[in-house]
């Protein structure tokens, strides 16, 4: 700020810092300091909107001239003071420099941006340039058979990665199809391969899996997903895989069947290094029960997956919905914000193959093709081109596209599908 009260004829440069994210929707303006997490909102403040428009003009690069006369305006003065107080911007006497400074505005430039490439002379062909490097995580539902009858079956897997029985309980993938799929993925940057069912131990050609999954050209983390009740007596099947070649994720819905749980928790299969428990939580009681199990058995690796069962919307409103304070505490970095405007970091690079052979980017996205009829290259190309899952961002959905917070919020997940609303937040409802 000026050392003394500015003269009306004095000129200043106001500079907005480039770690500050600015979002304007209608008459609302949001400033977010990615270093501190601080959010400032201005509503119906014409002075600020005018200043922001000037700051964002291509010829200004986040720097505008402000006169002493303008600084005498309480709206401008308050805004500049706010910006300085929260380390979002600064003011300098123009006489101290020979000319206007500049600030590199946070505008993302992805050299292989699909939307830019589509419009370029290189055309759609370039969309497929080295695109297999994006395939990072593949989830294969090898079968749908399962002897359990869980209440969450059929809907939980649409909210998070979890086993499902499927409509056709005898559906099963051909081992040679899986083999072919994995061969095609050799050039991909596959970081994780998830194997799910049904009950994976009911896969009729289990004995072929070790050879297929442990091909030397596929040095990828492999994870088997199983319901805890399906784990009983399956030690032998797991020992067909070399130790350390896979890890286990054990799905635990509530209420837990105590006797079976006690049997399973002591089994060698469960006590392998890397075993992870996925507790499915539909309410406070489930959460308490999970905590009790974790404490009692000293479970180190575990996650809580909220489950929407159609009746627990209030639980979600309390436990899952975000508010402004959550976002400030989460403190997304500027690069996270830029990433969320271009891709869906939750789904980018994922492919799901269902036990009926249908291939999706994520389980709620439109079908890309089938394992039998299409190459994985076609699927990845299609998803890269369309971007219906990997590049589905909040600025493309309602009502988030109209919300100033849309780049700060977590990426769209599968919960939005389950609850039938994209704004899993207390922000948009408060702004109505």
């Amino acid at each position: 700020m000026p050392k003394q009260s500015p003269k009306k004829s004095q000129s200043f440069w106001f500079i907005l810092d480039n770690y500050v994210h600015v979002s304007v929707r209608g008459k609302s303006v949001l400033f977010y300091n990615s270093l501190t997490g601080k959010i400032l909102e201005y509503r119906d403040c014409e002075t600020v909107i005018r200043l922001v428009k000037r700051l964002r003009a291509p010829g200004n690069l986040q720097v505008v001239g402000i006169t002493g006369k303008e600084l005498a305006n309480p709206g401008v003065s308050r805004f500049v003071k706010d910006m300085r107080t929260f380390f979002m911007g600064d003011l300098i006497d123009a006489a101290l420099t020979r000319g206007k400074p500049m600030q590199m505005a946070p505008y993302p430039n992805i050299q292989q941006d699909v939307e830019v490439i589509k419009k370029s002379t290189r055309g759609s062909a370039a969309v497929g340039d080295r695109m297999m490097k994006y395939a990072a995580e593949v989830s294969i539902y090898i079968n749908s058979a399962c002897g359990l009858d869980c209440g969450l079956c059929g809907s939980a897997h649409r909210q998070f990665l979890c086993c499902t029985r499927g409509r056709n309980t005898r559906a099963e993938l051909e081992p040679r199809s899986v083999k072919s799929l994995l061969q095609q993925l050799q050039g991909a940057s596959l970081a994780r391969l998830n194997i799910l069912g049904g009950d994976i131990f009911k896969f009729s050609q289990w004995e072929q899996l070790p050879e297929i999954l442990n091909a030397p050209a596929l040095p990828t983390e492999k994870i088997f997903y199983t319901h805890y009740l399906n784990l009983a007596g399956q030690e032998k099947k797991l020992t067909q895989f070399p130790a350390g070649s896979f890890s286990l994720k054990i799905v635990v819905p509530f209420p837990v069947k105590t006797r079976q749980w006690e049997e399973i928790i002591g089994a060698p299969a469960v006590n392998r290094p890397g075993t992870h428990f996925l507790f499915i939580i539909a309410g406070e009681a489930d959460s308490d029960a999970a905590e009790e199990l974790i404490t009692r058995h000293r479970l180190e690796n575990h996650s809580f997956y909220p489950f929407f069962n159609g009746r627990n919307r209030e639980f979600f409103r309390q436990a899952v919905f975000v508010d402004k304070q959550d976002l400030e505490e989460a403190r997304p970095t500027m690069t996270e914000i830029l990433a969320r405007q271009c891709i869906n970091p939750l789904h980018f690079g994922t492919l799901t193959i269902l036990s009926n052979g249908h291939i999706h980017a994520d389980v709620n996205a439109p079908r890309l093709g089938t394992l039998a009829g299409d190459s994985i290259y076609d699927m990845v190309y299609k998803e890269m081109y369309r971007g219906s899952s990997w590049r589905r961002t909040r600025k493309k959905v309602t009502p988030c596209r109209r919300c100033t917070f849309n780049a700060l919020c977590p990426p769209l997940s599968n919960y939005e599908y389950a609850l039938g609303q994209n704004n899993l937040c207390h922000i948009w409802e408060n702004s109505l």
Binding site: G99, Q103, I110, Q111, G128
Partner: protein
């Protein structure tokens, strides 16, 4: 180590500090604390911080700049701040700063530091990356182009030819041609890789290029290779042919080129005088003959000419960038690409003549009266715009190569810890074959036509392709080992564009000509930032439009 204008000593009279004194100070710092943040001033005397660890460039208030200089000198800033009394501190380019002002910028300094600024990157680890045989094989399976040197002779004798009088050329050229059998063997070899799971691309164009000498001097080769490629079955690619030609034989072969949809790059240096270095062996200018052929092509196949034909002009002392722009725009409605003469490898006896002949694009371009029109038309072809993209990629933190780059950058790092970087290879050398494969008339395999044939990586003949990926990796890694120390001491290590094959790698201690110390690097950044201060709209134009990947 501090010079008399050290800000830690309250910088008496520092606002009158001469640039020489500042330079002296910078050098002192450079010798002791390389690789920390870079502090610099633009021509407008605005102050900036570039931090390579967080990849961020920030405008700095003079008081903050003062504190950053203290930090950079290795002073304990917290202690310095704690010992401050209420006496105002003299700040360079600002004047007396009060305690509350210092306190404000001290808090800002702390904020930046808590968010990973000022953590020196460990270049020793970052530049420890090396190539593996598998990586090089995968690179070849994803290459975008194979270019065949059809013949090593030409029907012209251009004064500045890369194989002409200016350069030290060890090998004799002038009578060899590549056999079609060798080209077919190479195509078969590449097809196996293109169709393998190592190929990450799909529905991608694979370019088959014909280069010379003048490639149309061996038309039967081109016809046979094109026919052979046409019956190959790539799974993930489709073939597109291209050729660089001097245009002398266009009249004779244009029907074939159009039929096979060749991308054509015609070498032409502008109007008759501008083109006068391009002459027949008897010294007769080639311009009129070439122009007749080009006009014939444009008249007979106007749509093809519009879509598939481009021009490359070499700039020298008989033409100018604005003149070239005007000529090609009015004559053919085209924007040419403009190349400069290669200054590397000029024979000592020819240096003076080369110097007279040489011209760079920028010199004439920025003096043009209609520069704004030129910038609009030639945006991507302007050397300063290419340089600006490279600068912004390095310093803005907002340019990403691909979506994985964005996703990785978006992964949260623990507050206060610098982001994790993966080890990269030293120098700016391309991973071999990542862009193209070049096959010489002798069947030597090179990663590019622009590097000396003594660096061939393998060989092909009519029976087989001989590429030993382990050996190639070893060769490159040996070169990298020899340069790593220099790279680690270079302030521009992160955005280096220096190819190892331009560095006399035959010598035991090759010296990198692109090595920058902190002072030179700060000057480079200052030049770029000063340009952006004067041309701010260029920033968003580059960010929105420029794609080189």
């Amino acid at each position: 180590m501090f010079c008399e204008n050290c800000p830690a000593l309250n910088c008496k009279g520092s606002r009158r500090q001469s640039s020489t004194a500042f330079t002296c100070h910078t050098i002192a710092l450079a010798n002791t604390q390389r690789k920390l943040q870079v502090l610099l001033e633009s021509q407008n005397k605005n102050k900036y911080l570039y931090d390579p660890t967080v990849k961020s460039t920030q405008w700095c208030h003079p008081v903050l700049y003062h504190i950053l200089r203290l930090h950079r000198q290795g002073l304990d800033v917290e202690q310095w701040y704690g010992e401050l009394n209420d006496v105002p501190v003299q700040i360079e380019d600002y004047g007396a700063a009060s305690k509350p002002e210092i306190a404000y910028y001290y808090r800002k300094y702390r904020l930046l530091r808590e968010n990973g600024f000022f953590s020196p990157p460990d270049t020793g680890t970052l530049l420890s990356g090396r190539l593996s045989a598998g990586q090089i094989k995968a690179s070849l399976a994803n290459t975008r182009q194979v270019t065949f040197e059809v013949v090593d002779y030409c029907n012209l004798e251009c004064a500045y030819c890369a194989y002409g009088k200016f350069y030290n050329i060890n090998e004799q050229r002038g009578n060899r041609q590549l056999s079609a059998g060798t080209a077919k063997t190479v195509l078969n070899y590449l097809l196996d890789l293109l169709n393998s799971p190592l190929n990450q691309s799909h529905q991608q164009v694979f370019h088959i290029g014909f280069y010379g000498g003048e490639p149309l001097l061996n038309f039967p080769f081109i016809r046979e290779v094109v026919a052979y490629a046409r019956q190959l079955k790539p799974l993930h690619n489709h073939f597109q042919f291209n050729m660089t030609t001097n245009g002398l034989l266009l009249g004779k072969y244009m029907d074939f080129l159009v039929e096979h949809d060749f991308d054509l790059l015609i070498s032409l240096d502008g109007d008759e005088y501008s083109n006068s270095y391009r002459v027949f062996k008897d010294g007769t200018p080639a311009y009129r003959e070439v122009l007749k052929n080009i006009d014939g092509l444009a008249a007979k196949y106007p749509a093809y000419f519009k879509d598939r034909v481009n021009f490359n002009a070499v700039i020298h002392n008989r033409n100018t960038a604005p003149g070239l722009h005007h000529y090609f725009k009015t004559q053919f409605d085209k924007i040419p690409s403009i190349s400069e003469l290669n200054p590397i490898g000029v024979a000592p006896a020819m240096r003076e003549e080369f110097r007279k002949t040489y011209s760079n694009i920028g010199t004439t371009l920025f003096q043009a009266e209609d520069y704004s029109l030129l910038e609009k038309d030639m945006f991507l072809n302007l050397p300063n715009i290419r340089g600006m993209k490279s600068f912004l990629q390095q310093c803005s933190g907002f340019i990403f190569n691909d979506y994985n780059d964005v996703a990785a950058a978006g992964n949260k790092t623990e507050a206060g810890k610098p982001p994790k970087h993966t080890a990269q290879i030293p120098t700016g050398t391309c991973i071999p074959f990542s862009r193209k494969v070049f096959i010489t008339v002798q069947g030597k395999i090179l990663p590019c036509e622009r590097i000396g044939q003594q660096y061939s990586l393998g060989a092909a003949d009519e029976k087989k392709v001989d590429l030993d990926f382990e050996k190639i990796a070893d060769t490159y890694n040996t070169y990298f080992d020899r340069l790593e120390k220099q790279c680690c001491s270079c302030a521009n290590w992160e955005a280096c564009l220096q190819c190892i094959f331009y560095l006399n790698m035959d010598q035991p201690q090759p010296r990198c000509s692109g090595l920058l110390n902190d002072e030179e690097f700060a000057r480079y950044l200052s030049t770029q930032l000063s340009y952006l201060e004067k041309n701010p709209q260029t920033y968003l134009k580059v960010m929105k439009e420029v794609r080189f990947a």
